[in-house]
């Protein structure tokens, strides 16, 4: 029975990758453990190791092919004694057997969120680990903010963040970046790729795994006027450092009677990625949004990620910059230019509508936008607002929308109690109660630690259907 070699998933969020190189040719014999190919993910180059023995009967995906979806058959192995020709001609797609490969780190590049060497079985994924298929980025319109005449390029959120840091580091010698794996490894999520090469080890600093300590060091440096960008590999790990973030960074300006500003950016992925369990999936937007003295930013699109990160780096206050691992690889239109900033504290109406306001931020926007498109087909014209900044919250933009639509659904991946959407609901009640034709509804992550099992994880996260149902409910439809 010929065995298909399937494109392996090499990180929790990988959906596709590039087959950069075959190390075996058709007709070569393969032993278990042999490195047969190299695959480039959005994070690293990985080696693919054969699990089964046999002859590489056919290569189905050629060297250099980009965007090979996970689980696509890339080759066929004929077992010993099998007819190689027959296997080659009939292999692809016939086998239901699990993939015959297992990945091995080529550049000691583990999936960053776990910090351990990858032992990712390339078993077929029954379904996408992401709870909802991504909304297409094109439904998100940020272009009205783009400067007239600016050249527009397509860029991933990851590249946008990297460019924002590089541009600001070129502009201001007091800006530096520190964190785990930001330098030689090129960033656990490749967000700091290339910065070490351009700015050197003094301004791109690999720290030991010691969040509490390096957060404090960053705050101390910021108190003297330097402008650190402190990367947390994920905000889950910032729990070790939250004392320095809140007690030192956020409060010192007030406690010093205005003498000691703290111009620092704490950034990194926040919230759920995919299948990484409760300790790597927490959304901390509500936590930090509770703290006077902090600004909390959570962009969705690449242009906002870039413009807001640049604003954050130039801001004289401590900023919590919440990124999202799943969004890193998404592409959006971004205007070119070193001085294109997006102001902190301004929400954006990204889809005008008249029947119901859907407000969200970060990856919550994928649900909001997909729901709006589906609702349009049913004759409900939803206005979608991307909050972009959680604190200070631009509630005025939300209120103005609610005064027009009289209905609101707030969406977040975080927990319901004391959540960002709870705050939105309360603020609408305070400011626009008389305008409401229905109680404000919210769609949130479920009130449970994030489960690992794919089906349970999917249930724990919000989904497009819930947003649609909530919008219909507030429209009494």
């Amino acid at each position: 029975m010929p065995i298909d070699i399937l494109m392996p998933a090499l990180s929790p969020t990988m959906e596709q990758g590039k087959l950069s190189k075959w190390l075996k040719a058709e007709g070569d014999s393969v032993k278990a453990g042999d490195i047969i190919a190299e695959i480039e993910t959005d994070k690293a180059t990985m080696e693919v190791e054969a699990v089964d023995e046999g002859i590489l009967a056919k290569i189905l995906i050629a060297d250099g092919t980009e965007n090979v979806a996970v689980n696509t058959p890339i080759g066929v192995i004929a077992a010993e004694g099998e007819d190689v020709k027959a296997a080659a001609s009939g292999g692809a797609g016939q086998s239901d057997k699990p993939a015959a490969t297992s990945p091995q780190a080529a550049q000691s590049a583990p999936p960053a969120a776990t910090g351990e060497a990858p032992k990712v079985a390339a078993a077929p994924k029954a379904e996408s680990a992401v709870a909802n298929p991504p909304a297409t980025a094109k439904s998100y319109d940020a272009s009205s903010e783009f400067p007239a005449g600016a050249e527009i390029v397509s860029m991933t959120v990851r590249e946008a963040l990297r460019d924002a840091m590089a541009e600001e580091m070129r502009r201001d010698g007091d800006v530096f970046v520190m964190g785990e794996e930001v330098a030689e490894y090129q960033g656990a999520y490749k967000v700091t790729q290339g910065l070490l090469q351009e700015f050197g080890p003094k301004r791109v600093i690999d720290t030991p795994i010691t969040e509490h300590g390096f957060a404090g060091i960053g705050v101390g440096a910021a108190l003297t006027g330097l402008k650190p960008i402190v990367e947390f590999m994920t905000f889950n790990f910032a729990m070790q450092a939250i004392d320095q973030i809140i007690n030192s960074a956020a409060k010192t300006l007030y406690m010093s009677g205005g003498q000691m500003g703290c111009p620092i950016v704490f950034r990194g992925p926040n919230g759920a990625a995919a299948r990484v369990g409760a300790q790597h999936s927490h959304d901390y937007a509500a936590w930090y949004s509770n703290i006077p003295g902090l600004k909390v930013v959570a962009p969705y699109s690449a242009s906002d990620a870039k413009g807001l990160l640049k604003s954050a780096i130039r801001d004289p206050n401590p900023i919590i910059f919440l990124e999202n691992e799943i969004l890193y690889g998404r592409s959006f239109d971004v205007p070119k230019g070193d001085d294109i900033l997006v102001p902190i504290g301004k929400a954006k109406v990204v889809r005008p509508g008249k029947d119901v306001t859907i407000v969200s931020f970060s990856i919550g926007m994928t649900y909001a936008l997909a729901a709006a498109e589906a609702l349009a087909k049913e004759g409900i014209d939803a206005e979608v607002i991307d909050l972009r900044t959680i604190r200070p919250m631009d509630i005025e933009t939300v209120i103005a929308s609610v005064q027009k639509t009289h209905r609101c659904v707030a969406v977040e991946e975080g927990f319901p109690q004391s959540g960002v959407t709870a705050e939105i609901g309360m603020k609408i009640m305070e400011a626009a109660f008389d305008y409401l034709d229905a109680p404000v509804a919210r769609v949130t992550g479920k009130d449970v630690p994030m489960p690992y099992a794919a089906n349970l994880e999917k249930l724990a996260l919000p989904n497009v259907g819930e947003v649609i149902a909530a919008a219909k409910a507030v429209c009494y439809r």
């Binding site: 010691t210 390096f214 404090g216 060091i217 101390g220 004392d243 007030y254 406690m255 000691m260 004289p316």
Partner: protein, 365 residues
């Protein structure tokens, strides 16, 4: 350190707790070698007079703060530095203009030694608008950018990472400054202290870690809290040199501080000084100090008082007359009384201050 009086039922403190601090070099530690006090350079008359005045100012200021706390003029927590004056005064005698100081919540002495005004410190204690933080920080949270005093921190151990960050900034700017990060024997058991030690030595940051071992973390004696009570050895696994210093002798402090600061300034990285000292008062104003004997306190005051040591030298060796010393005493009392008077009558902050200093306005692009 937001903990109210704790009436401990712990057993009586171990007897040897009251033995006088002995100065010795940690590098020679283990061989029983001890740097004889005679190795310590003597002070000139001017140096002794300076140390006397500085320490006396702290002592009288703290006594006055204690009185004002009793009168209800100072609220919240108030941690007095009485007994430990030689540590910060000796350290400052070895530091240079521009070097930063950061400490925990027992911070009044450090501020005065950094040259901050008595009025501004006392007015902060009383929560008035003329305080260093305009009344919004209080005893544990005061700062002076002008004097390079970076607080005043209420979270035990947090100042160690922050102080390492100050050293990081000096390293980044290559400006030749040294950060002096003070913390107590209690804070020395916090995890972030060792995270900071590691990075400070890894990156050879110019920071001196000054462990003020006053023998009690609140009410817990060092031998009830610390597996390794020789705090000068706390950096051994990182390769950070350390010394135990008689923190009651301002000359010994200045001498060790000079070595430590030179080491840090020359690019060799951090240095640890364990200052063996003693606080005469309780942890805070509400601490009856039942965890130690009155005899222990009395013995330290009589035999090792840092101010009396200097006063004795001034009269015996430098033949400074009682009149001259009394004039210094009177001058110090005048400064402290003036500060108390100011802090009593200065108005509370304007209510508009409630919502200021939360965020800074970004510069216009």
């Amino acid at each position: 350190m937001a903990v109210a009086a704790r009436k401990t039922k712990a057993p009586a403190p171990a007897k040897p707790a009251a033995k006088p601090a002995k100065a010795r070099s940690a590098k020679a530690a283990g061989e029983g070698a001890s740097a004889a006090p005679s190795n310590i350079p003597v002070f000139s008359k001017d140096e002794d007079l300076h140390a006397y005045r500085e320490m006396l100012l702290i002592r009288r200021f703290e006594e006055k703060a204690g009185q004002m706390y009793g009168m209800g003029l100072i609220g919240g927590f108030c941690h007095l530095y009485i007994g430990q004056e030689a540590v910060v005064v000796g350290m400052q005698m070895a530091s240079k203009e521009g070097d930063q100081v950061i400490t925990g919540y027992r911070d009044h002495g450090h501020m005065l030694a950094c040259g901050m005004e008595s009025r501004g410190v006392m007015a902060e204690l009383t929560g008035r608008q003329g305080g260093y933080s305009r009344g919004k920080g209080g005893s544990m949270h005061m700062f002076s950018r002008e004097k390079n005093f970076y607080g005043g921190h209420g979270i035990v151990g947090a100042q160690v990472s922050l102080g390492t960050g100050l050293g990081f900034a000096n390293w980044y700017r290559e400006d030749g400054r040294v950060s002096l990060a003070y913390f107590g024997d209690g804070a020395a058991n916090q995890g972030q202290v060792y995270e900071s030690f590691n990075m400070a030595q890894l990156w050879k940051l110019p920071v001196v870690f000054v462990i003020e071992n006053n023998r009690y973390a609140m009410g817990t004696s060092v031998n009830r809290a610390s597996a390794q009570t020789d705090f000068s050895r706390r950096g051994v696994s990182f390769g950070i040199p350390g010394e135990q210093v008689d923190g009651m002798d301002v000359r010994a402090v200045r001498d060790a501080a000079t070595r430590a600061i030179d080491h840090a300034r020359s690019g060799k990285g951090p240095y640890i000084l364990e200052m063996q000292t003693y606080r005469y008062r309780g942890h805070s104003m509400s601490d009856p100090a039942k965890y130690r004997s009155k005899d222990e306190v009395q013995r330290m005051r009589e035999e090792h008082d840092p101010i009396e040591q200097v006063r004795g030298r001034l009269t015996r060796e430098f033949k400074v007359g009682e009149d001259e010393l009394k004039a210094i005493d009177a001058k110090v009392r005048e400064i402290v009384n003036d500060a108390a008077e100011f802090a009593t009558h200065d108005p509370e902050p304007d209510v508009s201050e409630l919502f200021t200093d939360i965020l800074l306005e970004p510069a216009k692009a």
